[in-house]
Amino acid sequence: MMPAGVKRVLPQLITLAVLVALVSAVFPDFLQLHYSDGRLIGPVIDVLKRGAPVALLAIGMTLVVATGGIDLSVGTVMAITGAVAAAAIVAGHGLLWALGLALAAGLCAGLFSGCLIAFLGIQPIVATLILMISGRGIAQLITEGRILTFNLPAFSFLGSGHLLGIPVPVWLWLAAATLTVVVVRRTALGLLIEAVGINRRASALTGINARVILLAVYMISGLCAALAGIVTTADIRGADANNAGLWLELDAILATVIGGNSLLGGRFSIPAAVIGALIIQTINTGILLAGFPTEYNLVIKAALVVAILVLQSPLLAGDLKRVAARLTRLRHPAPATKKERASP
């Protein structure tokens, strides 16, 4: 099982390694780690921690994308769940209520989008656009347009605490990714999701309840967004309805695609998508550390993203093969012609 699993994420691992090498070349201390005050400190730890929201979102996004869908609402759902958690804390409810309500809000958001897609047959991009636009209004409604700050150390621990020297958000995305992989691969859920994503009609004809599968993936995505919202809110000890999770859905989709998951649906890999999230964060952090002026960030990011995607493009792979074949033919013309003559 392991070799196949490693083989699947190999392109992403190589990409990550190349990026780390690039960043290290410009900023030699990138891989430096030191231990102080009971915590590991270093740029790599920073990447792992700051990458947490997108990594969490990428888990749910991968499942959604595997069904051939897309979830534009996750950034907004982060804002809603953060606002819900903060409002619950401010109102004097404890940690458990805050967490429970935030997760429930995420589930409800997923249920809403999932129902529009599975039962009304609305295209995923439009259905989740509805929540993406109106959700930020809902989050602002909850916080009444202000930044809701709170002081609850137990909750803040989820965003800025450490466990065994590693930041808690890192543990959270690791745990969420592992749990999701175990659930989808140890049950038949993963297979059914892939079947629906590849051919919904044929899947329905074999008796797969495609609607339930669709509902499930959007609810999982909502749940992941809720976790990401909790981490972000806990980290800054406040809910900012305007900016929490803003445009992170795009990063999450990008992470999923960099993870080699086709937007058309089908075979998926959560580990590859999570590595994709780390790739994006490495780019973001690397650009900063390398000392480029901040105004260059987006251009460099765009260039790197295009380069990664072009290299992964299946059509390009076909082109390269053809070019390679032509080159070999040019280099060894005689045997090739013979073979062609020999075959009818």
Binding site: A202, L205, N209
Partner: protein, 281 residues
């Protein structure tokens, strides 16, 4: 033509074999089942171990009938009775087919006409395609153990002579005939009571044709009822115990026993308006 020879041979074989002990017991009864704009209400009773052939021109309502029978399109009228195991049909259970899942739960199977869009899940492996219906019935919580999946896949690859380098190959890479065999294997793994095959031999090589016909005969010998829709009349005649002819979305003839032959079937398909025979009640 091979089909013609096959027909004669097959027919003789079937007659010689006679019927197995299970054959002839009533299984299902479709009563005045119809759907506006798709198929006029029809009656059809199905016995165990029987092959029902369905003939008709393109657009005569054959696929529509199959889709209504499998619950893909809901019937607007009539009812479906599950007659098996009840005392001569008295107190039989009525089946409510609101979707393929209901039909599958009732022991139906359906290999659709358009294999590429409705049958195979192209990027999944042969193994996964074979276990898909079985897994859907068990639910996502109870995965079929990997060893069992492999056993099933290898079993059917051998039994149906599916030509592939292995069970992990994507089904989309197989030839049409082998894809069809995988789709059949998917349903055989479910051990259905009633299997609907819409154009099972379309677009596959001649060798696989014969194999699929032989398979149908084997299945019915074990008591399964099979409805075959086919435009290849030779094959249809060869394999069927009863042939139903559709025209203009309406059942226009039923041919049984010695009546089954190329000429009567063609006459029923083509005749302008005179019904060869009324559909039986």
């Amino acid at each position: 033509m091979l089909g013609r020879e096959l027909a004669a041979e097959e027919h003789a074989a079937r007659r010689a074999e006679g019927h197995t002990e299970a054959a002839g017991e009533p299984l299902l009864a479709f009563e005045q089942v119809g759907r506006r704009g798709h198929i006029e209400p029809f009656d059809l009773s199905i016995q165990r171990g029987e092959v029902i052939g369905m003939a008709g021109l393109l657009g005569s309502g054959r696929t529509e009938t199959a889709e209504v029978m499998f619950g893909i399109k809901r019937a607007h009228s009539g009812r479906v009775r599950d007659v098996e195991g009840t005392d001569g049909g008295k107190g039989a259970d009525e089946l409510h087919l609101r979707g393929p899942r209901d039909a599958i739960a009732a022991g139906f199977g359906f290999a659709p006409e358009d294999r590429k869009t409705d049958g195979i899940v192209a990027e999944l492996s042969i193994r996964e395609n074979i276990i898909l219906a079985l897994q859907a019935r068990r639910g996502w919580m109870r995965p079929i153990p990997r060893a069992e999946q492999q056993r099933l896949a290898n079993d059917y690859i051998a039994r149906l002579d599916i030509r592939t380098s292995g069970a992990e190959k994507a089904i989309g890479e197989l030839s049409g005939g082998n894809q069809q065999k995988v789709v059949l294997a998917r349903w055989l793994a479910m051990n259905p009571r009633f299997l609907i095959l819409d154009e099972p031999t379309r677009g596959i090589d001649v060798g696989a044709h014969a194999e699929i016909l032989t398979l149908i005969r084997e299945l019915t010998a074990k008591g399964m009822a099979v409805l075959v829709i086919s435009s290849e009349l030779d094959e249809l005649i060869a394999v069927s115990d009863r042939v139903i002819v559709l025209r203009d979305r309406r059942q226009v003839a039923t041919l049984v026993g010695e009546e089954i032959g190329l000429e009567p079937v063609v006459r029923a398909i083509a005749s302008a308006d005179t019904h060869t025979e009324e559909a039986p009640a």
